[in-house]
Every structure is written in structure tokens, then in C-alpha cells.
Amino acid sequence: MEEGKVLSQSVQLSAAAYAIIHEKFGAALSAFDSNETMPFFEVIDISLWPEIALFMRDHPKLRFNYMACLSGVDFQAEDKVGIVCNIESLGQFNHKLAVKVKCPRSGGSIPSVAYVWHTANWHEREAYDMFGMLFTGHPDMRRILCPDDWEGYPLLKDYKVQETYHGIKVPY
């Protein structure tokens, strides 16, 4: 965090929530990024991600009970793909926090948090569908929007669409 920067109230709340998580997990997390539009931290030791998620949901001072959004993202510059989760405490506290989890671009996998927040179930399937990272421990790891036999992962930056699909010409 930069010295002397005045943070808005909502970012301060996020920072306070981050401090509690950081106290428990320490080096497994990156430093807190206190930007105004979407304060976030990154999970570095991704095997701990479900544990961190459970801690965030159940800690009496955190109660991150609502996962608003989980977006898959292609971090092409770092040769990684990952997810960005926007999590908040609905009705109990007013803090919200974004969490990034990244894995290698080819053949990477991220532990699933579908058992922590049911919202993650379909969103993780969508991230897999579009970016190709697997979610280990997911109850139903299938494609969701594309057909099951679609080739490639459409939202990767270097995605090339297949020529034909069941004899139908694909590129228009």
C-alpha cells in the first residue's frame, strides 16, 4: 500500500477485511491492491484457495456470504489463466473484496469453491468452457454454454475457431 494515499471508506473496509485474512494465511496471499475501482488480492499458494474461501465465508468478522461474480480471465502477458471473484458480505457487513487466482495457461487447474458458494458451480463451469482451466473437486465439470464437443476455448486471446463443426462451416 502506498504511503499517504487517502483511501475511500469502502476501500478501507476491504483493507480491514484483508488484514484479517492475511493474519491467518500470511505468505499464501499477495499484497493488497488498494485501487478505487476494485480492491483485490491474489492467492499465491492456490492449493489453499478453498481453505481461504471457507475462512472468508465463516469467520465471524468477515462473513463473505455472497459471491457476486466469478470471471475467468486470460492473463496472456504472464502466460497464465485465472479467475477473478467478487465476494461480499450481504446483509451483515458492508465490505467487499475481489480475489484473483491464477494457474498455468496450458493444463492448469484451480481448486473448486463450488461447495463454499453455490454460485461458483455454474460460473466455474463457464470459466472452464471459455478458458480451459480445470477446477479440481468440482461436482459437475462440464462445458455449459458451448456444445460438449466444441474444440478449443473461445475466450483465450490466441483462440482460433475451428473450420467445421459437424459438417457446418463455422467462420462466417
Binding site: T37, N65, S71, N86, L90, A98, L145, C146, P154, L155
Partner: protein
């Protein structure tokens, strides 16, 4: 209702309707059957396929299959400039285009950090609330049709036509508006617009009462929806439900009040919740009830906006519209209260390009529908229709 003596009866199957336990089958183990409902089924409100595992009339599992209307919204976004995404957002939730545009505009404006003229904000809220009423009218009308009530549908569509006419007058289109731009509006509203909207509000207020008597208090309708598809509040939150669905489960949460945006903090409105007298909290009727009551609140918001709106003198709706939208590098997640719940946009900008690096739409219907498996377990097939109708899905937003 008599007490059940389950001991020694072998295999029995019961269901619950408004606290009454009803025996459906005794000593019967029927063969499991797979019943595919959709994608061309009228009560799935679009191209949704549900694969139901049924045991007699009882559904043991219903698995939704999506993607029939997938139009690569997110891939398209990465290939066009920021302002050119606005028409795509219309086509997400095509029943509430104004609300989708509104949410997208808020997200990009957060990244850009621009000041929006006050009159623009009020016009945005008016058209969004008008669109909310129109969307709820479709939801309520088609829900009636699902459950066999045809008349409310005609009444709803008659009134919706007034709103579409008003929005067409303002924007030039009936459903896909491209009216709310990043930083402003496409046009100012016509000079008599406020007068006509007021006329509509005066006309429509008695209609909501009529609709309430016609449908919400209808005994057949209540019998089909009360106690069906109950979702407890904590499970609803865990599923990420939002909007009327979440409020139907008794959670007092409305983004317009709890995470305010635009000029909503200046406006006085209530967030209707089911009180448990008419419906069981969390059932299909509660969700319908929230929508029915919300329309009245939208009317209140519209009236206040008309009174508070600055005059059109010297007003340029495009004064804050940037010539070239190139936000600074960063990410944003911004959301707005849509008729169906929380519509959020996650946008990632690299600071150099005029196209987003990543633009994800968090669709409310997509999330609400994901609870289908839990909601439908142990319900009867006709009740499944009531449950899908109460979720009020728009497949354009589910599949994106």
C-alpha cells in the same frame, strides 16, 4: 389433515403443499423415466432444456441445459470499442434493455471517472424504471399464462404497450434502445415526455390494483403457487440470488438502496418484502408478490424524478460523452439492480486500447437459474412450470 402412520406401509411417496402432507403413492416403486422438457417448450420462456428424472409424477432431479442462445457476447466485446458494446447489452436482457445499458454505462464511467450531468441521471432513472415496469408486466403476464390464466396476460401487454410507446418516442426503438450511452444519452427526451409519463403513471396506478385483484388474489393462482418451490434465505444468498428472487426469500436487499448508484439515494422508495400473510416466505407466490408490489414503487420513483429533474435549458445530453473512450488501466466490477436482479459488468482495461481486454456480464438469470436442481427436487411436474415461471428467466441473458 390426518396424521401419517408411515411405519409398515412399505414404499410411500408424499409431497407437501402449504403444510399439508399429501400421499401420492403407496407401495409403488415406479420405473425412473427421463423426461426432456424444452428447448421448445412454451413454459421455459425461451430455449431452455430441462432434463427431468421422474419417478411417476415426482421429479427426482431436473438438470438445466443452456447455451442454445449463446451469442458470444464476451468475445464480441473484446473486438469492438467501448461505446459499441452498448447495443450488445440491449440484447442480453431484451425485456429490460434500458437497465442493461444503465449497468454497463455505470461500469465504464467508473473506470473513466467522468462527471455525469444531473438531468442525464434523472432521465436514466426514469427510463430504467419504466423499463422495469414493462419487464415485470411481461413476467407477471406470462406467469399467469403458465398457470392457466390468460386474461392478466392481455391486460399486462396492453399496459406494457404504453411504456414501449413512450420509450420508442424517446429513443426511436421499442425494445433494443441504444439510448443510454457511456457518459450521457443519445438524445434528450422529447419536450412533452414528462407530461406523458405523468399521464401514464396516473393511468397505470389503478391498473396495478386491478392486476393484483385479478391474479395475485386469484384462488386458483394462489393454490398453484403457495408453498411451492420454497427457498430459505441463507441458501438463496449462498446461491447468489438477487433481485425479486432474493427478496421473495425475505432478505431485505436492493442494490438501489444498499449499494446506491446514480441518483437513487435522493429518492424515497420502499423495498417490498413478503410478510408471510399471503404467501409462505420464499415460495413462488412470494416472488410473484414482490414483483407485483415493486411496480408501485417504480411509479413513485418516476414521479419524484419528474419533479426533481433540472430543466432542459441549455442541456446537451452528449456533453459528457467522451470523443474516444480509453479508460486508464485497471479493473472494475459495477452493478445495477435489474428487474431480474443484480446485473454486473466486470471490465478489464489495459489503458492503451479503446477496446476492453475482458468484459464479463454477470447475469442475474444465469445465477438464479442455477438453483433449479435444488428447487425442483421432489416437486410435481406441473409445479416445475410454476417454479420456472417464478424465476422469470430471459434466455438472452442466461446464455449471453
Amino acid at each position: 389433515m390426518q396424521e401419517l402412520d408411515i411405519a409398515g406401509q412399505g414404499s410411500i411417496r408424499v409431497t407437501r403443499k402449504s403444510n399439508n402432507v399429501v400421499i401420492l403413492e403407496k407401495d409403488l416403486a415406479t420405473e425412473q423415466m427421463v423426461l426432456a422438457m424444452g428447448p421448445q417448450h412454451p413454459s421455459t420462456h425461451g430455449v431452455l432444456k430441462l432434463e427431468c428424472l421422474t419417478d411417476g409424477e415426482v421429479i427426482t432431479e431436473a438438470v438445466p441445459y443452456l447455451g442454445y442462445l449463446h451469442r458470444c457476447f464476451e468475445k464480441c466485446c473484446e473486438n469492438v470499442d467501448y461505446p459499441a458494446i452498448v447495443p450488445y447489452t440491449d440484447r442480453l436482457d431484451y425485456l429490460a434493455g434500458m437497465n442493461s445499458e444503465f449497468a454497463y454505462a455505470i461500469a465504464v464511467e467508473k473506470l473513466l471517472d467522468v462527471e455525469i450531468p444531473r438531468r442525464v441521471e434523472f432521465i436514466r432513472v426514469i427510463v430504467a424504471e419504466l423499463n422495469r415496469i414493462a419487464s415485470h408486466l411481461v413476467a407477471i403476464g406470462t406467469y399467469g399464462i403458465d398457470l392457466g390464466a390468460f386474461t392478466p396476460f392481455l391486460f399486462c401487454f396492453r399496459d406494457r404497450e404504453h411504456i414501449l410507446g413512450l420509450l420508442e418516442w424517446a429513443s426511436g426503438a421499442r425494445m433494443l434502445y441504444n439510448y443510454i450511452w457511456v457518459g450521457g444519452l443519445a438524445y434528450d427526451v422529447p419536450s412533452d415526455f414528462n407530461k406523458r409519463v405523468k399521464e401514464f403513471v396516473d393511468y397505470f396506478r389503478p391498473q396495478t390494483v386491478e392486476l393484483y385483484k385479478l391474479l395475485t388474489e386469484n384462488e386458483i393462482f394462489v393454490k398453484r403457487t403457495k408453498g411451492i418451490g420454497i427457498m430459505p434465505a441463507d441458501v438463496a444468498i449462498n446461491y447468489g440470488w438477487s433481485g425479486p428472487m432474493l427478496r421473495g426469500s425475505g432478505v431485505d436487499w436492493d442494490l438501489r438502496r444498499n449499494d446506491p448508484y446514480s441518483v437513487y439515494p435522493e429518492l424515497d422508495f420502499k423495498v417490498p418484502l413478503p410478510d408471510g400473510k399471503v404467501s409462505d416466505i420464499g415460495d413462488c407466490l412470494s416472488r410473484h408478490l414482490v414483483r407485483a408490489l415493486e411496480m408501485e414503487e417504480s411509479l413513485k420513483i418516476i414521479e419524484q424524478c419528474i419533479d426533481k429533474m433540472p430543466s432542459s435549458e441549455g442541456f446537451n445530453p452528449r456533453s459528457a460523452v467522451p470523443k474516444r473512450v480509453r479508460p486508464k488501466a485497471g479493473e472494475v466490477y459495477a452493478r445495477a439492480e435489474n428487474p431480474r436482479g443484480e446485473l454486473g459488468f466486470y471490465i478489464q482495461s489495459d489503458g492503451k486500447s479503446t477496446k476492453p481486454l475482458r468484459c464479463k456480464a454477470r447475469s442475474s438469470c444465469f445465477v438464479n437459474l442455477s438453483a433449479m436442481k435444488d428447487l425442483s427436487k421432489g416437486q410435481l411436474i406441473p409445479d416445475l412450470v410454476a417454479i420456472i415461471g417464478s424465476i422469470d428467466i430471459v434466455l438472452g441473458e442466461v446464455d449471453r
